[in-house]
Symmetry: C2
Subunit: 443 residues, 2 copies
């Protein structure tokens, strides 16, 4: 993009940024656009308000850029980004095989599973591919699946399951809430479900689902039903005890709390899930996403044996290895606590501003993101550029029923854990100042 001259008067500057905003862009698929301000023309940003550059010569120095505080992709650590530019290696050379194998083993620790029957998968793809893994491999056409409806992403999971022939029952909660245990128990007692799916954090609403009691309920009421978790916006920032909670599958992606650039589908399946795969009456309904094809490959990599089905991305796997090494260098409990503390601080600041969250019940609120209703007088095309001017990028809404009414603030990974960055404080201050610039005053 050509460099644009910076106008001197703020209104013109605001207008210059606004030109890049969503109102100019027709939405191609309903509710499918995440609206965000321009992140290109950093000349418009006050230099003191964008994050400091690392001065370490051994790290990949990131040029000045707006701080990405959307619910993924997040800001990345220098060492992780440096791993992305790893020199070329063969995907079956022992060095890379060892790196991939260690990465898979570290995923076991991140998801807190020591059961040798648990099986991690890392594939080139996005978080969405995890839905296909479950739908094409662990459910057979005509089998019933109960989807707990929390928003845009549980709807997507339901759509994906239906594509592969599952008979989907979606138990939908009101916007900002989640299905409650008694109604889930009722649904489970009415029909025999092959599986139940739950979106741990629905990125469209910031609603956190409760897994431990849910899984206990399923085991009590319908013990053969497999419990599958969409952990795209929860893994590495929310407590998740794969073994203790008796989960059968968790699918996630690289670019959220794990803190590795996008491009990897990451998942963990239980021995029960692998049995469901192996006892299918029909072959898996996908080739690239066939867990039968990938299972021996993943097992071999973890055993440090080269193996080939389709070429993985050595660079992304190196970056994931670096990210997981960093995560596991400290107790996970500390990581989750830090995310909770920061989340509490943000949610208090939001309340102090007189704003409401999409998820009103504190027990239902995610700790890696906050979905915030805007004051009625403030519109997304005003507030996001106002934040961008202050070096902070939030996301607009994505849930179809409230899409224009709220914004989303992601707080995961280095922005939460590395206090020296000052990301969170700057974001809270930007939100206060931005709302004020948009004419909002707390009642």
């Amino acid at each position: 993009m050509p460099h644009q001259k910076t106008p001197d008067n703020p209104p013109a500057r605001l207008s210059l940024i606004s030109r890049h905003l969503a109102p100019d862009y027709p939405i191609n698929t309903p509710y499918a656009v995440e609206r965000l301000p321009d992140t290109v023309d950093t000349s418009l940003l006050p230099k003191t308000q964008i994050r400091a550059i690392s001065s370490s010569p051994t790290m990949s120095p990131q040029p000045p850029h707006p701080t990405i505080l959307i619910p993924g992709p997040i800001e990345f650590d220098d060492a992780v980004l440096q791993s992305m530019s790893h020199y070329s290696e063969s995907h079956v050379a022992p060095g890379f095989v060892a790196t991939f194998g260690e990465t898979l083993s570290m995923l076991r620790k991140l998801l807190q599973t020591t059961d040798p029957a648990s099986q991690p998968f890392v594939l080139s793809g996005s978080g969405t591919l995890g839905w296909d893994l479950i739908a094409a491999n662990l459910i057979e056409p005509g089998e019933d699946v109960l989807v707990l409806g929390t928003g845009y992403f549980s709807d997507g999971f339901a759509d994906c399951l239906a594509v592969y022939g599952a008979k989907v029952t979606e138990l939908k909660a009101a916007v900002g809430s989640r299905p409650q245990l008694p109604e889930i128990e009722k649904a489970l007692s009415e029909k025999r479900y092959k599986a139940i799916t739950v979106t741990h954090v629905d990125t469209s609403t910031g609603v956190l689902s409760e897994l431990a009691n849910l899984s206990a309920l399923v085991r009590r009421v319908s013990p053969d039903t497999l419990v599958f978790v969409d952990g795209v916006c929860s893994v590495a920032c929310e407590e998740l005890d794969f073994d203790g909670w008796k989960l059968d599958g968790v699918v996630t992606a690289s670019q959220k709390a794990i803190g590795c650039p996008a491009g990897l589908s990451i998942s963990m399946f239980s021995g029960r899930a692998i049995k469901a795969l192996e006892s299918r009456k029909t072959p898996p309904a996908s080739y690239f996403a066939s867990m039968k094809k990938w299972l021996p490959i993943m097992q071999n990599y973890e055993n440090k044996k080269p193996s080939y089905f389709a070429t993985p991305s050595p660079q992304l796997v190196h970056a994931l290895h670096t990210a997981l090494s960093q995560i596991l260098s400290k107790p996970l409990s500390e990581r989750f606590a830090r995310h909770k503390e920061t989340s509490d601080r943000i949610k208090k600041a939001v309340a102090d501003l007189g704003l409401k969250q999409v998820a009103p019940n504190p027990d239902d609120q995610a700790h890696g993101m906050t979905a915030i209703y805007l004051p009625e007088t403030v519109q997304i095309p005003q507030i996001l550029p106002s934040l961008a001017k202050r070096g902070v990028v939030f996301a607009g809404g994505i849930h179809k029923e409230i899409v224009t009414k709220y914004i989303r603030f992601g707080h995961m990974g280095v922005s939460v854990l590395d206090l020296s960055r000052g990301d969170i404080d700057r974001a809270i201050k930007a939100l206060e100042e931005g709302l004020s610039e948009c004419g909002y005053q707390k009642a």
Copy 2:
């Protein structure tokens, strides 16, 4: 991996490298392991024989490493690797949207299509995902597909088509050859095929298929039959005229001649192919690989409009943008000519060594790789470490009928185009010396 002490005597050094080789690793899926020597312990490599490090402070300096001359991934340019560590951006921010849009437009130029009905796709995934795109979107269950059998990769394409319900007829050629036009004409006249698939270069044999005459034949004999090309090992190193040759689909990957790290499925489809998608009687048989879901997203990105179905990888797309910008900075004809010249030089050197190629007919030989039969007295576990000692990494065999009998030498991208690297000369010299070390003398 722990650093290993370098033994002083060459036999022990050879043995140290050999420990990392394939014989220690059981093959998990038949013929599915590409055998390669260790690329980790560079302390074993004479420093003068590994490629020089760039001294430019603006580039990502690559540490000393063995030169990867396998048929993908290839060696990457410094600027491409630098793009991999791009700071975090939103996947729907205008800056990234512009980069992605330009990338899609550049793919049109690379594939030589100016027909506005042609549609490029760039998805997170591997080259294999391209097979799923065709099989799940452009063929409906029960439809007949003629697969031209050239080796391991055409067999894989056939398997993938069958997973989604295509009725596959595979017209297999002898190892090292390709189906001939008269037999293809006969097959096309016997049945009405929805599509024909051809592997432009089968990476398992180094066989190059002829597309222009093939496509003309299909148009003459069976004009409604769609022509789909697996271009994973051909795009950006072999002449490919999408419009002129009236192709309906070309699927490829990032990590071969395009010269961008692995992790992207890259494809181009004709207006006829898109019509086949839009007129399906059944919905696409995949969710993540649904071209109906991705079509508006790709169109919006190219029109510089943010759009969301699943999160792309900004870092990989930046690297692809850099790679394509470099490719298109010079005439494509020059690029193809350079690959042909280098290939001719390598094939002459192979013949001068008294060795035979898997593809004996010069017209059938790829220009981005050479599959070389080993002398009967030389085994893969001897020659690959001997090459590795000399800083050069070749691949072992992968075609099931000849898997232990040949090696593969990839010559694509910067190793061919940047003479200052000396990669090709060093590889030819290493092959000569390595064979000699293994006791081979030309008869």
